[in-house]
């Protein structure tokens, strides 16, 4: 659940890069996200082993710093002798993929509907906002469960369910920002000059809503990563042999007693991802919202 955000356009005199370099929060976040995205992009080349190859001899191999660990498998191996470091790296792909697709779909759908609702008001607004209210009556995960029930678990279902659950976050923020901007004088001026409404939305309203959208998108990525991990943990997300952090943790749960390292590596990977995104999202919010800045000064 992301908090409602209200952000105004950034003051032009402050450059983004300078603000980022001066923010330990933003930098740490970016670094953590960069690490995960790097893993996702290059896992095929840098992963030391084939992530799905099972070796009988390597079963329950402990990480290298424990007795019996080997340098060939830095983080040890799981119950089927698969290399945990390689699996953790390759699993980043699923998280990054799901997050990018889901947030893009939710962003486009939510922004469009939110802008329409905020700009036109009247029955358009009523219709769209009632749909939002209706969806709010479903707890996030239950909504996903409905999709699973109808379509059966899998990657496509996962993506659809999460996109469907998240568009309302964008719709709500964009609607309220659009309503605020629509009342400003320069929109009035543009209307008087005969600029078409579609053009006003695209050239005047959307650029001003963009900071808010960016903040919501960033924070929603964290939500998606966590939700994907949770659903895969329940066995309702991506299906084997594709590796995902949630699934690795679920698999390792049976061996928690003697081989805790099986769950620790993917667990830390999930944490790095979501902490990184949240830190970076917080930084973005601070950057775009001068009001917040003032209360901190």
């Amino acid at each position: 659940m992301s908090e409602p955000v209200s952000v105004a356009a950034a003051p032009p005199e402050r450059s983004f890069l300078r603000a980022l370099l001066r923010s330990p929060k933003g930098l740490t976040g970016l670094l953590m996200v960069g690490l995960i995205v790097g893993c996702a992009l290059f896992a095929h080349w840098i992963a030391p082993h084939d992530p799905v190859r099972q070796t009988l001899a390597g079963r329950f191999l402990p990480p290298v710093w424990q007795e019996g660990g080997r340098w060939t498998n830095l983080l040890g191996a799981d119950n089927m002798g698969r290399d945990i470091l390689s699996r953790t790296m390759i699993s980043a792909q699923i998280s990054v993929q799901v997050a990018l697709i889901v947030v893009s779909v939710a962003l486009v759908v939510g922004t469009t509907l939110g802008a329409l609702a905020g700009f036109f008001g009247g029955w358009v607004d009523t219709l769209i906002m009632r749909a939002v209210d209706f969806q709010l009556a479903f707890p996030f995960l239950l909504l996903a469960l409905i999709f699973m029930a109808v379509l059966g678990p899998g990657f496509a279902t996962l993506v659809m369910a999460l996109s469907f659950a998240l568009w309302i976050n964008f719709a709500r923020v964009v609607r309220s920002e659009t309503m605020r901007i629509r009342r400003l004088d320069y929109i009035d001026a543009a209307t008087t000059m005969g600029v078409s409404r579609a053009r006003i939305i695209v050239t005047h309203v959307l650029p001003n809503v963009l900071p808010a959208i960016l903040v919501v998108a960033t924070l929603d990525v964290a939500l998606v990563v966590i939700a994907e991990a949770a659903l895969s943990f329940l066995g309702l997300g991506v299906q084997p042999p594709t590796a995902s952090w949630g699934m690795m943790i679920a698999d390792g749960r049976d061996f928690l007693y003697d081989q805790p390292w099986i769950v620790i590596a993917p667990g830390i990977a999930v944490l790095i991802t979501s902490v990184g995104i949240n830190l970076f999202g917080d930084f973005l919010r601070d950057y775009f919202d001068p009001r917040l800045e003032r209360t901190r000064a």
């Binding site: 908090e3 209210d133 209706f134 479903f138 109808v150 964290a222 949630g246």
Partner: protein, 321 residues
């Protein structure tokens, strides 16, 4: 205002029922074929009967009317796998989920209120920064991961608390047999903390920012000038108003809590409706899935109505509007 809220809630519930009732119709192909594929022993006659029972032989409006009618009379169909009325299954499992959610909220508030006050009072000190870090960690940690880690530390390493299971209501023991309270409550601790963690972080932040806002109000300055002790100002004047946004949030957080129970119950083998739903999806027991979704939506909407009412009760400004 209240009447329109009630009407609105009822309207949403009818909509939810419609979605739930037509859910089986949305399954691509024939859901009975899907079920039969997992149950080789099913005869053609069984399949026909099942189609009938799931409402696949009826049109969507007919099915909706039948489902709504049944739901109003407390009939949500029969579990395909277990052969017992779904209402009975839910009746057996709902108390465990409700009590788990209850303890999670108790823990969340018991921790969030002091943390929120402390971080607001010690603003911009290390206490505040620790609070901020904790908040980021709180919203970033998936409940299931925390649950697994807690089991690792408190059940496996330290052997303090049980790793899974449910031994009956702790609240019930509190009032009936206080000596048995701990033996039941210890099963609640790890799952409730797993659920509460994110709420502690969110609510502590809310209370902190609300406190900061309230402290700057004139009436606080006035009370200080009047010589009211600081502790009294904080607890009686400031906190009361700072808690308002939290009351609204607790209602909305119930949605997250219900979602959370789905996962946490699976980790801790908790016999609640969340695990019921996950199990039902794995074996495609549609009537059970339908019922869990409907019951959760009813709960969520009712709780938010109640919270809304409470808010009016606490905050006279809203009441008078």
């Amino acid at each position: 205002m209240l009447a329109s809220r009630l009407f609105y809630a009822a309207l949403i519930l009818v909509g939810v029922t419609f979605v739930v009732a037509s859910l089986v119709k949305l399954v691509p192909g024939d859901p009975v074929d899907v079920i039969a594929a997992g149950n080789p022993g099913m005869s053609l006659a069984d399949m026909e009967l099942l189609r009938e029972r799931m409402g696949l032989t009826r049109s969507v409006p007919e099915q909706f009317a039948a489902y709504l009618g049944g739901a109003l009379q407390g009939d949500l169909g029969t579990s395909i796998r277990q052969g017992v009325p779904v209402t009975q299954l839910i009746g057996e499992r709902l108390p465990a989920t409700a009590e788990l959610a209850f303890w999670a909220i108790v823990i969340a508030l018991a921790l969030a209120v002091p943390i929120g006050i402390l971080t607001a009072l010690k603003r911009d000190t290390w206490v505040d920064y620790a609070g901020t870090s904790f908040a980021v960690l709180g919203v970033s940690t998936p409940g299931f991961l925390l649950a697994v880690m807690l089991i690792l530390w408190f059940s496996i390493d330290l052997r303090w608390l049980p790793a899974s299971g449910y031994r009956g209501s702790a609240l019930g023991a509190l009032f009936g047999d206080p000596l048995a309270f701990w033996s039941k409550f210890r099963y609640f601790i790890l799952p409730a903390i797993s659920l509460a963690f994110v709420l502690v972080a969110m609510n502590a932040r809310l209370i902190r920012s609300a406190m900061l806002e309230v402290v700057e109000q004139d009436y606080i300055a006035f009370a200080t000038a009047k010589g009211v002790p600081r502790a009294v100002i904080i607890l009686r004047h400031a906190l009361r108003n700072a808690l308002l946004p939290v009351v609204t949030m607790v209602g909305l957080q119930m949605g997250g809590l219900l979602s959370g129970t789905v996962v946490i119950e699976t980790v801790f083998a908790w016999p609640g409706i969340g695990r019921l739903a996950v199990d039902a999806i794995h074996i495609r027991d549609y009537p059970v899935i339908q019922a869990v979704v409907l019951v959760s939506a009813v709960l969520f909407i009712t709780i938010n109505l109640v919270v809304d009412g409470l808010y009016r009760l606490i905050d006279p400004r809203v009441r008078d509007e």
